[in-house]
């Protein structure tokens, strides 16, 4: 995802001289290195100083530029939280904060590098928009949106590198703020977003093996949440499964249950997300996720219990 972001950002930056990238000592990947080489003045490294990274983005934006802040998600959002809240959101500036390694992507690096609460934290700030693309193709679309929009700050959660393409044959186009059907089926709807969409696809394939065709939906935009789209899902399906790499107990999960209660929906809602616990496991992302019950085996055992 980060390489696709860099590639898309680079292309946009060729057209828009106001686009700048402000990083806090993060090693540039792929095309970001190219951006740094080709536009050295528009690539700014504040060093290990995330508060300045965000504060400078605010000032640059207030003075006519379109900066993106870019570093590991925990450092991008948690360390300079008040700068994000006050300088970007309170002042309502169109600055994008890109958090890479969202969720538990940095699975071997310990809990300090797990952005497991980022969606809740970012969404709780007024004016903040939150987006978590599900694969490199959605990352490209999301980045294009962030580059073009002028309505306020965005937090964009990305994974790492090498995520599979999952949305190549999506039913719907990517539209910011709208649920996106990747597959259309009946009875069951699987909802997910971010890098853990790969698990949702596994579950989808598992259903298919069993002769059932569920729908598969990307909830790439978490804020503003597409209440209308979710409402339709509640009306159209008997069973909804939400899979999220977010603690405590999932962001969309709670929102969907609230909406279901408000609308007196009879749909069965099953939610699978990171628990309200730090993860003391080192390994691959799927191994950490499994420790919190985010595996096909665990989901199937729960669903059929």
């Amino acid at each position: 995802m980060r390489n696709k972001f860099a590639e898309t950002f680079y292309k946009a930056a060729l057209e828009d001289p106001k686009l700048c990238l402000v990083v806090a000592d993060i090693s540039p990947a792929g095309s970001i290195e190219k951006f740094r080489q080709d536009f050295p003045e528009r690539f700014l490294n504040t060093g290990v100083a995330e508060q300045v990274m965000i504060g400078m983005c605010a000032g640059m934006c207030q003075n006519g530029l379109r900066p993106f802040a870019y570093t590991i998600a925990t450092f991008a959002l948690y360390r300079p939280f008040e700068m994000i809240r006050d300088d970007l959101a309170y002042q309502n500036l169109p600055v994008t904060v890109v958090g890479i390694g969202g969720g538990v992507s940095y699975a071997a690096l310990g809990g300090t590098h797990h952005a497991q609460e980022d969606i809740f934290i970012a969404s709780s700030i007024p004016n903040m928009q939150v987006i978590a693309p599900s694969d490199p193709l959605e990352t490209e679309e999301a980045t294009r949106h962030c580059v073009a929009q002028t309505k306020g700050p965005i937090y964009m959660r990305l994974g790492r590198a090498g995520e599979p393409i999952l949305t190549g044959d999506a039913v719907d186009p990517f539209v910011f703020g709208k649920v996106r059907y990747l597959k259309k089926g009946k009875k069951t709807c699987i909802l997910s977003y971010g890098a853990i969409m790969s698990l949702a696809v596994e579950l989808y394939e598992d259903y298919k093996k069993r002769g059932e065709t569920p729908s598969l939906v990307s909830m790439h935009t978490l804020k503003p949440l597409d209440r209308q789209g979710l409402s339709q899902i509640l009306s159209n399906y008997e069973e909804i499964i939400v899979i999220e790499e977010v603690s405590p107990e999932g962001y969309v999960s709670g929102k969907l249950k609230q909406l279901a209660w408000e609308e007196k929906s009879l749909a069965k809602i099953h939610t699978f997300a990171l628990q309200d616990e730090f993860i003391h496991v080192y390994g691959k992302p799927h191994e950490l996720l499994a420790a919190h019950g985010l595996s096909l085996e665990h989901i199937n055992s729960k669903m059929r219990a």
Partner: protein, 237 residues
């Protein structure tokens, strides 16, 4: 209300607006946002704010709160929380350079504010970027919410040395002397960002606010208000 903190930086802000700043192209960020009454009265004098705006200060009918808010006429940044303004000003200064513009960015910090770590992130960064269009002032009034800064943080002094060590051009002046403040800026070498350390008196102009930490926050009662006004008329005379 933060009355005494506004009096300590009044001449600094006044000098910036009325002498140092080209208001067509320069910008001013009051990083010690709690001193905003100093800025409000000057913006009113300049016609940016109306007298009614001052009369409606901190009321639902007005547009001015106890801290400056971006979007209010003449206010460049929301700085109610300390430690934000210098980074924002740096971003503005960098944007000026990048866009090949000549604007200068002025920023006023509080001495207590300089205990925020974010200020030192910015202090370290500004000279790296060669932001010679960034002109900062420290309102060194030696008081903060809980007492005397020189007593709670004696190793913070001398501040000017710390600023110089971080790569800034520095000057040290009487922060109530208009001429000195202006000269510090006009005579600078101008190769690096400038930090003017301004020795000031918190609550200057009102005798009972001087050397009294409670006036960092306190609002005057009727008698105190009348006394303060009489004091200020003497100073003005």
């Amino acid at each position: 209300m933060h009355i005494a903190p506004a009096f300590s930086c009044l001449e600094i802000v006044d000098s910036i607006y009325f002498e140092l700043m080209d208001r067509q192209q320069d910008r001013f960020v009051l990083s010690k946002g709690h001193g905003c009454m100093s800025q409000y009265v000057i913006l009113e004098a300049l016609g940016v704010l109306a007298k009614e705006d001052l009369d409606r200060y901190c009321t639902p009918q007005g547009c001015l709160g106890g801290h400056p808010d971006y979007g209010t006429p003449g206010i460049e940044a929301s700085t109610g929380s300390l430690g934000h303004g210098l980074s924002i000003a740096m971003g503005m200064a960098y944007a000026e350079k990048l866009q090949k513009k000549d604007g200068k960015i002025f920023v006023v910090l509080g001495d207590g504010e300089m205990q925020e770590g974010s200020v030192w992130e910015a202090m370290m960064m500004a000279p790296n970027l060669k932001l010679n269009n960034l002109i900062a002032f420290v309102d060194l009034n030696n008081y903060q919410g809980l007492g005397k800064t020189s007593e709670t943080h004696p190793n913070f002094y001398p501040i000017v040395d710390k600023c110089r060590a971080f790569g800034w051009e520095t000057e040290e002046v009487n922060g109530h002397a208009h001429q000195d403040i202006c000269q510090a800026v006009s005579l600078r070498k101008g190769e690096r960002p400038l930090m003017v350390v301004c020795h000031t008196i918190k609550g200057k102009g009102v005798d009972f606010m001087i050397d009294a930490p409670i006036w960092h926050y306190r609002s005057p009662n009727g008698d105190e208000y009348a006394h303060a006004l009489a004091n200020l008329q003497e100073v003005a005379a």
